[in-house]
């Protein structure tokens, strides 16, 4: 369970503070694979960053006893001048992976970048970087994976692999996912949270959530 206590979050701008959340309290239940639905700019990525502790709310707090991943977005924490394997080791080291060599090997197998894994990330195609980022997160055992539109860039084969990996982990891990492709979400999730005007609503059934979201 992830608890949001009276969260207020805004970003300062020329037009005054842009509020994303105002005094929001919410509980995200555990044991579900949750799709986050919301229009552009509704605050989905901000919500992720708050959950993961990448950013802090202006007021209030986020409480959880779960081990959450970092928000796995397209190229989080990936440095262009470092090779794929160096990036993987860096991420492993930061997250306290016990056996870095083993971890690197796992990422190498999962990402399937071939020889490119040992070349600087700058040389990767736009579809390959997210694969690396995603493989890095899959290589570590988290309770909850926060995935921000990463899976949608992979090719069919990679998606299949992603699905398998997440299914294999589904006994002891869950995923919270942002995507604008409903097929993608139906593939991975069973319930939904609709984010609208700074308010969250939980739907136990994904289809119900999608219906409400599309009706907005």
């Amino acid at each position: 369970m992830i608890k949001l206590n009276n969260i207020t979050k805004y970003y300062p701008s020329k037009l005054g503070n842009q509020y994303i959340f105002k005094d929001l309290s919410f509980e995200i239940p555990s044991g579900h694979n949750i799709a986050i639905l919301g229009s552009n700019g509704a605050g989905k990525s901000t919500l992720f960053r708050l959950l993961a502790g990448s950013e802090y709310p202006n007021k209030g707090s986020v409480e959880t006893d779960l081990n959450l991943s970092w928000p796995v977005a397209l190229t989080t924490g990936i440095h262009g001048q470092m090779t794929g394997s160096e990036n993987a080791r860096f991420i492993g080291m930061i997250n306290g992976v016990a056996d870095l060599n083993l971890y690197e090997k796992r990422v190498r197998t999962f990402a399937q970048l071939g020889a490119k894994f040992d070349l600087p990330v700058n040389t990767y195609s736009s579809g390959m970087k997210p694969r690396l980022a995603f493989a890095c997160s899959m290589g570590i055992d988290f309770d909850v994976y926060l995935i921000d539109e990463v899976t949608s860039v992979g090719d069919a084969k990679f998606r299949q692999k992603t699905k398998q990996a997440l299914t294999a982990k589904s006994n002891n891990a869950n995923v919270i996912m942002i995507s604008h492709e409903m097929d993608e979400l139906r593939h991975f999730c069973d319930s939904a949270i609709v984010l609208h005007k700074g308010q969250l609503t939980f739907y136990n059934d994904l289809e119900q959530g999608i219906k409400h979201y599309q009706a907005l």
């Binding site: 970003y11 300062p12 960053r49 993961a52 502790g53 990448s54 950013e55 802090y56 709310p57 202006n58 081990n67 970092w70 928000p71 977005a73 190229t75 989080t76 924490g77 440095h79 001048q81 470092m82 160096e86 860096f90 991420i91 080291m93 930061i94 997250n95 306290g96 992976v97 016990a98 056996d99 083993l102 971890y103 796992r106 290589g139 570590i140 055992d141």
Partner: protein, 261 residues
Amino acid sequence: MTQIIKRNNWAIWRDVIFALFVREIRTGFNDKFGLAWSIVNPVAFIFILSYMRGRMDGGETHTVPTFVFMMYGMLLIQFFLEVMSGVSGSINKNKPLFAFRQVQPISSMLAVSLFQTLVKLFVFVVILVIMYFLKMEVVIADPIRLMINFFLVGLLGFSLGGMFAIAICFVPEFKKIQSMLTRPLFFISAVFFSLQDIPAEHRYLFDWNPILHAIELSRYAAYPSYGSVGVSESYLIESTIVLTFFSLACYYSFWKQAISR
């Protein structure tokens, strides 16, 4: 299955700082010269300038060989400036990495400082070796005092850099103010002259500057005959402690908001 070690906070800090440190080495230098450039560049700069100046007056400045006199001045001011600019730029540079909640801004600030400290220590050693081969006299009368001064200069750079780093997150214009403020430091910190050259009644124009104290005291530590006219170790230590305290206090109160904008 990948095993995650349960680490206490210190272990997390240590791992993160080490990871950032390696990353700093790996990505700071992107061309063929690589890491060597960070050593060669200051060594060449310090060496050529000191050597030319030494040739010009052909000998000693207040009993210290002019080459050594210049070398300490430039080494310490460069150390200060580079730690400061490195630290103040580190938050912005590593912003994407704060997505990992284990990575806090102060880790990247410490990693940069550590890196610069090692680079400058190495530069110092290289210069000493070159001096040895050129058959110049290598004298360091009080190495411990010298090391303490070196450390204090680093800490000063870290503190001031840290304050600017936080300020820049809120008001980016501080970056410009910082470069404007640091530019004259090269000329007012007794790099090219000694405080002894300044008439006593005008020393107040210069002796507020702790870096000047550190440079003069380092020369004094290497050559006791140089003397420590108008400077004091306790002023250096006290001003460093005050600035460090203030800087850490700023950091503690504002870091979360600084990376959440």
